[in-house]
C-alpha cells in the first residue's frame, strides 16, 4: 500500500498527469481510426520521448497501449468494422445492439466494463504479480498445444450451431492461417504459386472483409424501409443503459475480467482469445442463448471487458519478467530499455518509483479514459443517423484505409474477396467468429506442435508428460464429445 501511495505521489504532478492524459487520448484516437495502429504509434513516439523523464515517458506510451482497447469498440459497435483484432466479437452482438437502437447503451456498458477490467487488472498487477508470472513459464510447447486445442474445442462447442458446420469453419480458419511462407523454414505454402500470398493473409483484411465489407453488401440488399434503425433515445442521458441491461451486464463483466486477465497473461492469444472465450462462456451460462447474435447484452459486456482485462494481463509478464506477451508490449519493452529501465523483479527493487509510478498512472489513466469516453458516446451514436446513401461509401473508404496500411493493393483484393465470402457464409448461417479465431490460433497451434515434437525427437508422449497439458487435452476431448451429443440442455432452457 505504501508503495502504491509512493506511486500516486509521483504521478500527481501536472506534467506527469498531462503525459498520462496525452497517452490515453492518443490510445483512444488510435483505437477508433482504422489504418493507425498502436504498434506504429508507439514506435514513432518512442525516440521522441528520449529526452523526457522516465515516468512521464513510460506512462504516456503505456497509456496508448491500454487506451486502444477503449477506442476499438466504437467502430465495431457502430459500423461493424473491427478496429482491433480484440473487438471482432463486438461486431456480433455489439453491432446488433446498435441496430436495435441501443448503441449508446452498448458503448456505455463497454466503457464501464473496460474501466472495471482495467482497474481490477491493475490491482492484480500490483499485488498478484509474482505468483501469476510463474504461470508463463509453466506453458511450454506441449502445454500450448493442449491450451489451443481446448480453446478451439470450447468455442466450437459453445458456438451453439451445428457441430459439423462449426468444425468446417474451424478447419477453414486453420487453413487460412497456414497460407504464406512457413515461419520456420520459409517454404511457401498453399499459395497456388501466387507471390502476393507468400506474405500470408493478414488479419486486418480478413476481419474487415468478413465483417465490414460483408455488412455493406447485406445492407445494400435490404429495402430502405426495413433498414431504418430504431433511433437512440434523444434525452440527455439517453445513452445510459436501462436497468435491465445494467443487471444483465454485471455477471459478464466480472467473469470477463477474471477470464480475460488470466488468458491475457499467456503470450500469443492475448486479448483476442480472451474476448472469444468470454463470448463462448456467456452464451453457455446465459438463460437466453437464442438472443446471442441478435443483440444480447451479455455478448457485448463479457468480451468487451475481457479484452481490456486481457491487455492489462499482457502487461504483467512484461513488468514482472521482462517478457512481452504480444507485439505491442514488445515495443514497450524496447521503450523501457531505452529509458534505462529493465522490467522485471529488479525494477521493483531498484527503481520502485518507476514501477509504482507507472502502476499509479494506469489507475489514473483508466479513470481518464472513462471520463473521456462517456461524453463521446453521445457524439458517436449520431453517426447512425446518417442515411445509408452517405454512410456506406464512408464505411467502404474507412475499410480501404484500414486494409491498405496492412499490405497495400493486394490486401484490398483479399479483403474484397472475403467480403463476398463473408456475405454468403453469413447467409448460410456459418459462424464467422470461429473462422477468425481459428485463423489466429492456427499458427500458434502449429508452432507448438512442431516445437514439442522437435524437443521430443518425434515422440508423441511429450503431450502427456505434464498434468497441465493432460488436463487441457481431456477438456478439449470432453467438449468435442459433448458437442456430438444432442444438445438437450440448451433445448430445455428455452421453456
Amino acid at each position: 500500500m505504501d508503495n502504491l501511495l509512493l506511486g500516486f505521489s509521483i504521478i500527481a504532478t501536472p506534467i506527469n498527469l498531462f503525459y498520462c492524459f496525452v497517452g490515453t487520448f492518443l490510445g483512444t484516437v488510435v483505437g477508433i481510426l482504422p489504418g493507425v495502429g498502436p504498434l506504429a504509434t508507439i514506435a514513432i513516439l518512442m525516440p521522441l520521448t528520449v529526452n523526457l523523464d522516465v515516468t512521464p515517458a513510460l506512462s504516456m506510451l503505456c497509456g496508448i497501449y491500454y487506451g486502444v482497447a477503449y477506442g476499438g469498440t466504437a467502430t465495431s459497435v457502430l459500423l461493424r468494422i473491427p478496429g482491433e483484432a480484440s473487438s471482432v466479437v463486438t461486431c456480433l452482438d455489439g453491432y446488433m445492439m446498435a441496430r436495435n437502437g441501443r448503441a449508446g447503451s452498448a458503448l456505455t456498458i463497454a466503457a464501464v466494463g473496460s474501466f472495471i477490467a482495467g482497474t481490477i487488472g491493475t490491482v492484480a498487477i500490483s499485488y498478484l504479480s509474482p505468483p501469476l508470472a510463474k504461470l508463463v513459464f509453466a506453458f511450454g510447447p506441449a502445454q500450448y498445444t493442449a491450451l489451443v486445442l481446448a480453446a478451439l474445442a470450447a468455442v466450437t462447442y459453445f458456438s451453439g450451431g451445428a457441430l459439423l458446420k462449426a468444425l468446417l469453419m474451424v478447419g477453414f480458419g486453420l487453413t487460412l492461417g497456414c497460407v504464406g511462407a512457413d515461419p520456420m523454414t520459409l517454404t511457401p505454402r498453399l499459395t497456388f504459386g501466387n507471390l502476393d500470398l507468400v506474405a500470408g493473409i493478414d488479419l486486418t483484411p480478413l476481419a474487415i472483409g468478413l465483417f465490414g465489407f460483408s455488412e455493406i453488401l447485406a445492407m445494400a440488399r435490404q429495402p430502405l424501409s426495413k433498414l431504418r434503425m430504431i433511433p437512440t433515445p434523444r434525452t440527455l442521458l439517453g445513452f445510459l443503459p436501462n436497468r435491465e441491461e445494467t443487471r444483465r451486464s454485471v455477471g459478464p463483466v466480472w467473469r470477463g475480467t477474471i477470464l480475460g486477465f488470466m488468458v491475457g497473461i499467456l503470450p500469443g492469444g492475448g486479448a483476442m482469445l480472451a474476448s472469444f472465450l468470454s463470448y463462448a462462456l456467456e452464451r453457455k451460462v446465459s438463460r437466453r442463448p437464442e438472443e446471442f447474435g441478435k443483440g444480447a447484452v451479455e455478448g457485448l459486456a463479457g468480451p468487451e471487458t475481457a479484452n481490456n482485462a486481457g491487455s492489462s494481463g499482457a502487461l504483467l509478464p512484461l513488468l514482472c519478467m521482462g517478457l512481452p506477451a504480444n507485439a505491442v508490449s514488445a515495443v514497450l519493452l524496447t521503450a523501457f530499455m531505452i529509458h534505462g529501465v529493465a522490467p522485471g523483479p529488479a525494477m521493483m527493487e531498484r527503481q520502485p518509483e518507476v514501477f509504482w509510478g507507472l502502476i499509479a498512472s494506469m489507475y489514473v489513466g483508466n479513470v481518464m479514459l472513462l471520463l473521456m469516453n462517456l461524453p463521446l458516446i453521445g457524439l458517436f451514436v449520431k453517426i447512425l443517423e446518417v442515411p445509408r446513401a452517405y454512410l456506406s461509401p464512408l464505411i467502404l473508404l474507412l475499410c480501404v484505409i484500414g486494409v491498405y496500411s496492412s499490405g497495400e493493393d493486394s490486401a484490398v483484393v483479399i479483403a474484397i474477396l472475403f467480403g463476398f465470402l463473408g456475405y454468403f457464409l453469413r447467409k448460410m448461417d456459418f459462424d464467422l467468429g470461429l473462422l477468425i479465431l481459428a485463423y489466429v490460433l492456427g499458427p500458434i497451434l502449429e508452432r507448438s506442435v512442431r516445437q514439442a515434437l522437435t524437443i521430443s525427437g518425434g515422440e508423441m508422449s511429450i503431450f502427456f508428460e505434464s498434468g497441465l497439458s493432460i488436463g487441457l487435452l481431456v477438456a478439449a476431448g470432453a467438449f468435442l464429445v459433448l458437442g456430438l451429443l444432442p444438445n438437450r440442455k440448451l433445448a430445455l432452457r428455452d421453456d
Binding site: L39, T187, A199, I338
Partner: protein, 319 residues
C-alpha cells in the same frame, strides 16, 4: 523545457512521421521523403537503430526521413522491396545476415548480392547462452557433457542465433538440437520453464530474467564479453572457437548514382559515431561497431560458409 519536448513530439506525430519539412529545395537530392525499409517489426533492436539513424539522417540531409516496417515472409518481403526500390537515393534499408545468407539457400529470392550497395555498418549484436537457474547444468563443460549423452535442446528466435551452438557442437561432438521460437520472449520463457535446456538470445531478451534470478548467463556467444556481466567469459575464452556474429548495417539498391551513395555512406558513418545513437545502443546493449560500406559487406560475407554449413546440416538448404 518538458513542455517544449512535448510540443516537439506532438508536432512530429501530427506531421505523420519523424518529419522535418525540407527547406532547402534547391538541391537535386533529396527531392522527397527518404524511406528506411526495416524488414522486422517495431520494437526490435534493428528497428530502434533504424529510427535513431532516421533522426540523424533527417538532420544531416535536411529532409524528411521515415522508417517503414515491411513485414511478411519472415523478412523476405522487406528485402525484396529494398532490392526493387527506385534507385534514386530515396530508399535505403537495414540489411542483415538472414536476408543475404539464409534466404537465398532456402527459397527463390528476387535479389542477389549485386542488387545492393552497402552503405556501412553501425552495430553488432551481442549474443549469450542462458540457462534456467535451477538446471543441474552449471558450466559450459556440463553442457557439452550432457550433449554427449543425450540431445540437448536450445531455443532461439532466429536460426542465426545458434551459430555458436552449432560450432560448439561440431568442435566437441556434442549434440545440440535447435528448437525454433517465433519471438524472443517465447525462446526465453521456454528455457526458464525448463522446456528446453538453454536459450541463445541478445541482452535485451535475457537481462530482465537474469536480473530476476530466473536465468543464468552461461557464456557470451560473441567474441566480446557482455558489458553488463563482465565476469562471464566468452566461448572463445573458455577454449572453443565458436561465436555468433551478426553485424547490423544499411544498404541501398545498387543502381543509386555514386554521388548520392557517397552522401548516404557519409550519413551512416556520422550516425555510427553519433553520441545519442551510441547512448541508445548502450541502453539496448548493442555493440557499436562502425564499418564502412565495403567493410560491412565483407563482415557479412565472411559468415557465408558457416551459415551455409548450418543450413545444410539442418536440412533447410534447397537451392
Amino acid at each position: 523545457m518538458k513542455r517544449r519536448d512535448f510540443i516537439a513530439s506532438g508536432a512530429a506525430f501530427t506531421a505523420g512521421l519523424v518529419a522535418q519539412p525540407a527547406t532547402a529545395r534547391a538541391q537535386a537530392w533529396p527531392t522527397r521523403e527518404i524511406t528506411i525499409i526495416v524488414a522486422v517489426g517495431p520494437g526490435s533492436s534493428a528497428d530502434a537503430l533504424a529510427r535513431g539513424v532516421a533522426r540523424i539522417a533527417s538532420r544531416e540531409l535536411n529532409a524528411t526521413v521515415q522508417v517503414k516496417n515491411v513485414l511478411g515472409g519472415a523478412g523476405l518481403t522487406g528485402f525484396a522491396e529494398l532490392a526493387a526500390s527506385k534507385p534514386d537515393g530515396h530508399t535505403f534499408g537495414v540489411v542483415n545476415v538472414g536476408g543475404l545468407l539464409v534466404f537465398p539457400h532456402i527459397m527463390k529470392v528476387p535479389y542477389t548480392w549485386d542488387s545492393f550497395s552497402f552503405l556501412g555498418g553501425v552495430a553488432e549484436g551481442y549474443y549469450g547462452i542462458g540457462i534456467a537457474v535451477n538446471s543441474p547444468i552449471k558450466t559450459i563443460e556440463d553442457l557439452i557433457a550432457a550433449g554427449k549423452s543425450r540431445r540437448v535442446t536450445y531455443s532461439a528466435s532466429a536460426i542465426m542465433n545458434g551459430v555458436a551452438m552449432i560450432q560448439l557442437g561440431n568442435a566437441t561432438g556434442a549434440k545440440f538440437q535447435f528448437v525454433p521460437a517465433s519471438t524472443q520472449p517465447e525462446a526465453v520463457a521456454q528455457a526458464v520453464g525448463g522446456h528446453v535446456d538453454v536459450v541463445v538470445q541478445t541482452p535485451p531478451d535475457l537481462v530482465p530474467l537474469i536480473e530476476g534470478k530466473q536465468l543464468r548467463l552461461l557464456a557470451s556467444a560473441t567474441y566480446n564479453r557482455w558489458p553488463n556481466y563482465p565476469d562471464v567469459k566468452t566461448l572463445k575464452e573458455l577454449g572453443y572457437d565458436a561465436a555468433t556474429i551478426v553485424p547490423l548495417g544499411f544498404a541501398c539498391s545498387s543502381g543509386v548514382p555514386p554521388a548520392i551513395r557517397a552522401k548516404l555512406e557519409q550519413v551512416i558513418a556520422v550516425a555510427a559515431k553519433d553520441p545519442e545513437l551510441m547512448a541508445t545502443m548502450r541502453s539496448l546493449t548493442i555493440l557499436p561497431r562502425a564499418l564502412s560500406g565495403p567493410e560491412f559487406r565483407d563482415a557479412i560475407q565472411s559468415q557465408a560458409s558457416t551459415v551455409e554449413g548450418i543450413l545444410v546440416a539442418a536440412g533447410m538448404k534447397k537451392t
